[in-house]
Amino acid sequence: MEISGADLIRAAALLGAGLSMGFGAIGPGVGEGIVGGSACEAIGRNPREAGLLTRTMLVGQAVSESTGIYSLVVALLLIFVV
């Protein structure tokens, strides 16, 4: 059974996609958890401002998500274009 060059490239691309998204999901998870924790603490200290704090937390988490999205884009490129 011969493994052709095209198969090898496809296999490497899929492996790279898995690694990219796998390692790329660690950072945003930790970062957004820290932001959420600080927001919970702040709401505990000042419950009247809960709406503003929740909105600010969501914006902070969306910006912190962006590097995870970059690795998702790399994984999608590897799966569908290579």
């Binding site: 969306a62 962006s66 970059y70 998702l72 884009v73």
Partner: protein, 224 residues
């Protein structure tokens, strides 16, 4: 599942050059512009002190964004730029929401839309900076903390454009791919409505808001 990587295009040859137009993005953008125009006509038809529903909704959005802009940019520039920020926000909101309707694709699924809006924001921010500070001051800002940090500052500005457009593109495109793949895996039972609600309504709203606020912040950082 087979249609995931494909982009529907119109290809025509014009004087020896091959021109490709992404038809889905173009038609969807025109549809959204039409929807916004319909909303504007409904909102301003019979203006009264006690507003009807459409006028009330448009007043909510416009007043909220005007407060945001005047907060970030100061009185004079805030009043000049809030129509732009308002149009950007409503356009992106409808762009992300329209992919809930079957057979419609979001224009922000195409990198062209998001990159175009990001570059527009870049030119607005730097154009305003040159207008306010003058060309000499503007260029000397790049050398500000330390003289040899100029390349880093330039790369930082380019990175802002890339990050803002890729964040929106990746969120919407990734969300649509996840919806297609998971719906295929569960044969369309039970899960797709919840996925649609999460990715299109929740994430779409947040990403539209983040794009708008970040454009506003980049403009305000240049004006200082």
């Amino acid at each position: 599942m087979e249609g995931i990587g494909k982009v529907s295009q119109w290809v025509f040859h014009l004087g020896g050059m091959r021109i490709e137009v992404n038809s889905a993005t173009l038609l969807m953008s025109w549809l959204i512009i039409g929807l916004i125009l319909v909303f504007i006509v409904l909102a301003t038809r019979r203006r009264a002190m006690v507003p009807g529903p459409w006028q009330h909704l448009s007043e909510l959005i416009v007043c909220w964004i005007r407060d945001l802009c005047v907060d970030a940019l100061g009185e004079e520039w805030g009043k000049r730029y809030y129509p732009l920020i308002c149009a950007l926000f409503i356009f992106l909101l409808l762009c992300n929401w329209i992919s809930m309707v079957p057979y419609m694709t979001a224009p922000t699924q195409d990198l062209n839309t998001t990159l175009g809006l990001g570059i527009m924001g870049f030119f607005i921010a730097h154009g305003t900076a040159i207008w306010v500070k003058g060309p000499k001051n503007y260029i000397s800002e790049y050398f500000k903390p330390l003289f040899f940090l100029m390349p880093l500052n330039v790369v930082g500005e380019v990175a802002k454009v890339i990050s803002i457009s890729f964040r929106l593109f990746g969120n919407i495109m990734g969300g649509s791919i996840i919806i297609i793949v998971v719906s295929y895996l569960v044969y369309g039972l039970i899960l797709p409505p919840f996925l649609n609600a999460f990715f299109n309504l929740f994430v779409g709203t947040i990403q539209a808001f983040v794009f708008t606020v970040l454009t506003l912040v980049y403009i305000s950082v240049q004006i200082r």
